[in-house]
């Protein structure tokens, strides 16, 4: 599903963010990416969403080779990848329903289909009944679940969650992680970055550690090890 082959990213001023990173993620896999701040995790995710281009190396996601991907097809690529951020990035002047339907409007889905889809997606993330609330009326955990609902509404093949629990207390963090596990169970490949050691240890999933722009370790059912 995701293939990175010796990917290097140099920033002109800030130096090298990634050094020859190779990574292979199978379909329906749940991968946790850990590493200290500035290790290159965010760069890695930006390369996957094609917000950045690699300096060298090959990236293939869902059969699309980024090297030959034309600019005008970037929107089509993005529709296959759902993204969730640490700071939610919800639109404050739109209700929960509108925030989710927004993602479907963008891809040209009809109003009838949207009215049918949004409640089902909100049910998956456990927010039934909150349709008409504004983000400011929700807790952090609920907001993040709205963001997840928005990301998965188009049924992407891959869900990238960039420290989704970073701003949440443990209880709400677990709500969010449970939702991610559920989505993964339905067949979506999930890429999760986190600093939370407890989450990593309890999930017992494949853990990829990135340090100084390189893959320091990659083990299944792994735990967070700060020594590598």
């Amino acid at each position: 599903m995701i293939l990175l082959d010796r990917v290097t990213k140099n920033y002109n001023r800030r130096g090298t963010a990634l050094k020859s990173v190779s990574l292979h993620v199978e379909p329906k896999e749940f991968v946790i990416i850990v590493g200290p701040s500035g290790a290159g995790k965010s760069t890695l995710l930006k390369l996957l969403t094609r917000e950045e281009k690699p300096t060298s190396g090959k990236i293939i996601v869902g059969g699309i080779d980024y090297e030959t991907l034309k600019d005008k097809n970037i929107p089509l690529l993005r529709r296959k990848i759902g993204v969730v951020f640490q700071d939610f990035k919800l639109l404050p002047n739109k209700t929960v329903f509108e925030n989710v339907s927004f993602a479907l409007e963008v891809v040209g889905m009809g109003n009838k289909e949207i009215r049918h889809t949004v409640p089902r997606v909100l049910e998956i993330v456990g927010l039934t009944g909150k349709e008409d609330n504004y983000p400011s009326e929700l807790s952090g955990g609920e907001r993040q679940r709205v963001a997840i609902a928005r990301a998965i509404a188009r049924q992407p093949k891959i869900l990238i969650a960039d420290e989704p629990t970073g701003n949440l207390d443990p209880k709400h963090a677990w709500d969010v992680i449970r939702v991610l596990e559920k989505i993964n169970k339905y067949g979506t490949t999930v890429l999760l970055t986190t600093h939370n050691m407890e989450i990593v240890n309890k999930l017992k999933r494949r853990v990829v550690t990135i340090k100084d722009g390189q893959v320091a370790s990659d083990r299944a059912g792994g735990t967070y090890r700060s020594d590598v």
């Binding site: 969403t49 094609r50 917000e51 600019d71 005008k72 970037i74 929107p75 089509l76 690529l77 993005r78 529709r79 759902g82 993204v83 990035k89 639109l91 927004f102 993602a103 409007e105 963008v106 891809v107 040209g108 889905m109 009809g110 109003n111 928005r150 990301a151 188009r154």
Partner: protein, 312 residues
Amino acid sequence: MRRKLITLRRIAIAGVKNFFRNSWLTVAATAVMVVALTIILMAVVLNVTARNAIGEMSKNLKVSIYIKDDAKTEVVAQLKRELTTNPYVAEVDYISKEQAQQQFSDSFQNDQKLLEGLALIGGNTLPASFEVSVSNLSKINEVGEIPKQEVFKDVVDDVTIGKTDVRKTIDRAAAAQRFITTASVIAAAIFAVVSMLIIFNTIRMAIFTRSEEIRIMKLIGATPGYIRGPFLVESSMYGVIAGVIATSVVLVAIFSLGSKVSTQAEFAATYTFFSDPKIIAAMYVGAILLGILVGVISSMFAMEKHLKLKYW
């Protein structure tokens, strides 16, 4: 196809919503564009008015060729031929002695004493004449030279060109027309640039304040058109609203001022011209299209930097 229609509708709705979102900038941008369009429309109207007035006054500007009473008819006919074949001559009217007498007594019918005095002298002392109107005013002197040729010496009594006061008025009107054109082109250009700058900034600020929203849209797979569309709709609306206001202002001016002078020959044609529903519609359409063009161009510049596919 259906998806495209749905998307187009959503773009239009988003654009209209955004238009009303930052109301003060909207008012400023629209107001300046109203000024620019009003100046342009006024310039057009004044030009048409001046042209019509000059045309109307020129009708009174004729070459009068007075024929001697004992002129040979063949030579007179030759003169007429030569006049009618001249490219600058619009019309040649022959006024016989009898017609001249009639015209004269018509214009002095309130002055019985003068007419009685003339009757005392007896006979018709007025000469026959050709009244020649020209198609091009600047050539009127050349036309005036025709009857002064040697061949016509025996038939032509006198040649007069126009009335000098009419010529002066026409020259003044023409000078005013040139001034109006130049001044309005300059003023319209200045205001057009100002309104472009304001719209440019309005759109750029809108892009800036909505940058987060735009980034989300990009990440959830919006196409460039879907993000740019609402901004284009928004800036077109400045043009539509400004066009409607400007045209209405100008039309109100035409009808409130015009109704006072519409009976004067110089302005009658202009007034009827601008009363034509087709012309009114054309003015609205023209002003709106011009406004949309200005709005779209300036927002294109504003979007150039941030909403290009390169930076997707």
